[in-house]
Amino acid sequence: MIRTMLFAVVAALTMLSVFFGVASADLNFGHRIYSTSTCGGAQKDPVHLMFWGNGVLSVTLNEFASHVGWSYTDGSTMYFADHGVCTSQDAQRASAPDYYWQRGHIRFEYVEYYSPYYYYTIAAAHMDWCYPHVAIDYDYVRDALANAFAAAGHSVQSRAWSSPGSIWVVCLGDGWYEYFDGNWKLIEL
């Protein structure tokens, strides 16, 4: 009896720890990425994907390779504001080499200040378009990637994350405001 009660207490404490672990998961990172190593100047692509649960970088990249398949790793270095520290991306993947006319492109940052029970990697994805490239289609590419994970059986949730925004881009002589909705997709690994 005592053993059963002890087990129940331990189980309850574990559940509470998990709950507070999730609740207190430290999401202290910037909503956009930067082209400068000080995270100053113009804000670039929105950070709008989170791979959580078993979201360490290596697992995230393996799952990404499995469900999406982009294998190219070239592209410029961008910076994430992560817990007050400006840090260069940990990895990037693309559907074609950097010099192609168009390609899907994503940058990953493994957030090391994880909660005790959850590891996560955040990411910023877009379409490279034109030459030299401009970044477009933030929401579409995010949703295409999330859709690929969902089709493979992963849980995908949508969350309002930051303010929507617009960035002026110029391609083929045309300028327009490239829109992003401020939502992110949380993909459980």
């Binding site: 082209s35 030299p132 401009v134 859709n147 969902a150 969350r159 083929l172 405001y177």
Partner: protein, 384 residues
């Protein structure tokens, strides 16, 4: 000499060796540059020859279709980047550019139909973006034609700078510098034919380091009679797969907009005026996740002479979204977006926004400062 060497101290000898090594390295660098320059001259000369033959076709403007096959390859790598085949019909609404990789796979496409331009985006379920231009000429020139006359236009608009002009192999060329829209740390240095402004080479520098050089080779530049065009030249699967539409509206077009009620701050507001109006519409594409369609008009204000800077976001602007009860329900299901009528909220980017639900229009005011939002609120009116 031997006697001189014997008279030198060890430290003097060391200095001498360092100086010798430094001199040798300078000689090596200069020699390699000379080799590169020589190689460059030989291929540029070849490309200029092609352009010379093509000038008549380019400038004919006969009403026939200009057909160009342009190969973009990587200088020292001798690797194909892509081949673009262009059919440009200046007098009618049909034009098309197809981009293929070196294996012949389609990697992108632009199709002009009337005043609409369709850009493909071949990832996921292969959708495309539809741009609606002011007129057919704009659609053609800014879409397909830009492949050939990018530098002509950049120079005309003052967005490119001539940093050198000279003669290579008897022909006049310009060296032009452009700072691309994408990146603060990048620069493109292009060598263009002075008369046609067609690009010959384009070298991209990132943080001062050369990262790629593209050589443009014009394999075909010819005029084709419409009656001689192969069947299906202007056929494409892009228009059936459009996932979003972007249209720049004039104020007059905005007044005649009927999809939902539009609101603005008047043609002039606080020393600013309406500078840019964009209608953005996205469609449902994905099956497995929440990805609600979006229908939004953005009205941007700026001082007279204002032009948007690449990479920047607008400061004073109004967005109006279609917000039917079904759309609002879907927003809530797909991410918990809440409408907070009349509540001032900071943005994540150092500004403020305040939104209002008027009937089935969700109006949001955006500004860098709180007091500007108050002024905007006072000026807000229906766009008629």
């Amino acid at each position: 000499m031997r006697r001189l060497a014997m008279q030198m101290t060890k430290s003097e000898l060391a200095v001498l060796v360092v100086v010798l090594l430094f001199t040798l390295s300078i000689v090596a660098v200069v020699s390699s540059s000379a080799v590169s320059a020589f190689t460059g001259l030989s291929f540029i000369s070849a490309i200029l020859g092609q352009i010379e033959k093509a000038k008549e076709a380019i400038f004919a403007g006969s009403g026939e279709v200009l057909h160009v096959i342009l190969r973009r390859s990587g200088g020292s790598l001798e690797q194909d980047f892509y081949v673009v085949e262009i059919w440009l019909d200046e007098t009618r609404g049909n034009s098309r550019a197809v981009f293929r990789d070196s294996d012949g796979n389609r990697i992108g496409e632009i199709l002009i139909r009337g005043n609409k331009r369709y850009d493909s985006a071949n990832i996921g379920p292969a959708p495309g973006t539809e741009f609606i231009a002011a007129d057919t000429e704009n659609a053609i020139l800014k879409g397909v034609g830009e492949q050939l006359w990018r530098y002509k236009w950049l120079l005309e608009k003052g967005q490119a700078t001539v940093v050198w002009s000279g003669v290579i192999d008897g022909r006049r060329v310009l060296r032009v510098e452009v700072y691309p829209a994408c990146c603060d740390n990048e620069k493109v240095v292009a060598l263009v034919d002075e008369e046609t402004k067609l690009p010959l080479t384009e070298t991209t520098y990132r943080n001062g380091q050369e990262i790629s050089t593209i050589i443009s080779t014009y394999e075909v530049i010819e005029r084709i009679k419409r009656s001689d065009l192969p069947a299906g030249t202007f056929e494409s699967d892009i228009p059936r797969n459009v996932h979003r539409t972007i249209q720049q509206l004039t104020l007059e077009q905005a007044r005649n907009f009927t999809e939902f009620d539009l609101y603005y701050l008047g043609e002039k507001f606080d020393g600013l005026q309406v500078q840019y109006i964009q209608h953005y519409k996205s469609y449902r594409v994905f099956q497995h996740i929440c990805s609600p369609p979006r229908n939004e008009v953005m009205i941007v204000y700026g001082a007279p002479g204002w032009v948007p800077v690449a990479g920047s976001s607008p400061e004073i602007y109004v967005t109006i979204e279609s917000a039917t009860p079904d759309e609002i329900k879907e927003w809530q299901q797909c991410g918990g977006r809440e409408i907070q009528h009349g509540v001032l909220r900071p943005t994540n980017y150092g500004g403020y926004r305040k939104e209002f639900l008027f009937g089935q229009s969700l109006v949001t005011l955006w500004a860098p400062a709180e007091d500007e939002i108050t002024k905007m609120e006072r000026a807000l009116q229906k766009l008629r």
